[in-house]
Subunit: 199 residues, 4 copies
């Protein structure tokens, strides 16, 4: 029933991002999104199943397409270390270039109900899988430690990236997110310990 393409489909999603970023998740009513998108309230239901569908679609369109781009981009690099480097860089670059989207995906949508969160989780799965592949490849190629627990390593990488972006937004983006790429990678690769290899 819901038509998932077209000018208005995109207009509604973009309007949702703007409205949620400006007013917050709890003040982003359907009618406000409709007004921002310059369509009638009812029109939204011609393109989306319901409000949850708008939010999940928002995440899917914006982050899903970023993930696809990232998947493609890192294939151009052989080294898993470099792949990780590029993944972080692309992630930060993408969110730094669209601050409204960063607010929405990083802060506001986290307040959503279980249905939306589950939808978001499914989309994020592809991102996590990408991390897994990089880690596994790194181990295989001898660049990452052979005794790494892949799942735990994924949590290290994703959790840190996520916390870094959230923190950057919470601090009103006073500094450049991209400036954090090298420090993060350095931490990932070397850890926090001193002369750890010899210990």
């Amino acid at each position: 029933m819901a038509k998932r393409t077209g000018e208005k489909y995109e207009a509604i999603i973009d309007a949702a991002v703007r409205v949620i970023a400006e007013f917050g998740y709890h003040n982003a009513q359907v009618s406000k999104i409709a007004r921002e998108a310059k369509v009638a309230d009812g029109t939204i239901y011609l393109y989306f199943e319901n409000k949850d569908d708008v939010l999940i679609s928002l995440f899917s369109e914006k982050m899903g397409s970023f993930i696809s781009e990232a998947e493609e981009a890192i294939q151009h690099f052989d080294s898993p270390v470099e792949q990780l480097h590029q993944l972080i860089r692309l992630h930060f670059e993408y969110l730094e270039s669209d601050r409204e989207l960063a607010i929405v995906t990083q802060i506001e949508l986290r307040q959503s109900n279980p249905e939306v969160r589950q939808g978001i989780g499914q989309i994020l799965k592809r991102y996590l899988d990408m991390i897994d592949r990089i880690v596994e490849d790194g181990i295989k190629k001898g660049l990452y430690r052979s005794n790494l627990d892949v799942r735990m390593t994924r949590k290290l990488i994703f959790g840190t990236i996520d916390e870094t972006v959230t923190s950057w937004i919470m601090n009103d983006r006073k500094y450049s997110l991209l400036s954090q790429v090298e420090p993060i990678l350095e931490l990932f690769v070397h850890g926090i310990g001193h002369q750890t290899r010899e210990m």
Copy 2:
């Protein structure tokens, strides 16, 4: 006006944890919490300002007291590495021993409104400060790398711990959270890179 102590105060908070864990944040009505606590709806307002206050108090009582305990406990260890070890262990131990609380603090309360989230944020600040102190101490004592960015390191540690707990709950706690302590610490200290010092 709100009496913040007493048997019923605790009964209401405990009831809130149980109700939110069972029914989810969006289905945890005041009347349901009251029934679970075996008090009248109005009694809740003798002990709390409003519903938000119940939720913030819940977090404050449960996580605040954990943080105090943790602060005390790690003082018994000199080595910042061991302090970090103990902090992670205590954190996992605490949440693994109270699965309902884990669900509420890791998943459900994140859906709350900005007021509650802010209240939670203030309590978490003490936790983040504790991490900062450990890291700074570790650097000073030469156990952590001298060029560590303390703020970024804090994000690594907190982000990874948080992601690990969330992931454990999302996976229906199929494995032991405590079993993750050593792997996490290992990752924190050594990083993911192989023979990184020589690279």
Copy 3:
């Protein structure tokens, strides 16, 4: 946001009058008014800001329009005595023809909260101003005593009219309100004293 016109706007106001007259101010719930107006509860909030707004609008529509009519009508009379006569007559005629409205404006709305009472007060101001103009005009034309205190005279006129209507309602409207027009005017003009001029 609130659309202050239309069929339903009037239906809601009329329903409010009926419900308040029948059940009293304290038992006139929004849902009861909505049911009486044959609209959904929420529809009321498409036409009014809130419940207070319904009550103030009720007074404004009913008494405000009466005041406008009265202002217009008395202009057709030159004599301030006749103007006063007509004002009283119109007032009594209006309320006698709509007994429910009389109950609501004279008795029930007086129990309302300060916000509503203030709204009502502002509308009544125009009525009081009209009395003032008649009195001032009467003094100027030598029909009323030159040493009249206009403000006090206004209180005499308004206070007596108001008390008369209230009393009529309280006595279950056993007599005709219009029958009181001449006696009131007579009292206003001549006072209660006998042969006072010669005293």
Copy 4:
């Protein structure tokens, strides 16, 4: 059951006057009155049937005793004109000397529910009867016009006095209420018309 005398009985009534005058009828909760009276909430119910009873008793004690005094006082005057004069003077004197009481009886208690209003009405009946007697006496003695409608005259007198006091309070008592005695009486006796006898 309710003990209608004693130190606390009076303390509660006085507290009610103060609380209602300060916070308004709608913010005069039983617990606030109890606190002001320095008794426990429950104690109020040892002296009064319920909250309505407090309010009616308040009016009864304060205005009832005033009415008794007034009844006694005017008996010392033979002339019904002078009796009216004194009644108005006593009324204004009483309320001007106790501004809190004036606010409560004139403004706040009018917002009360039908039960309280009825209780108040019964007490006021004695006041209205007193006016009736003065008017009837005045007619009999030839001081008031013989064709006066007693009931209407009562409304003139009571309505004007009432409106005058209300207006005085609403204007924040910027002028002296007692200064209005002569102007009112003058209006009552002579009316507003000029040379009306000869007209």
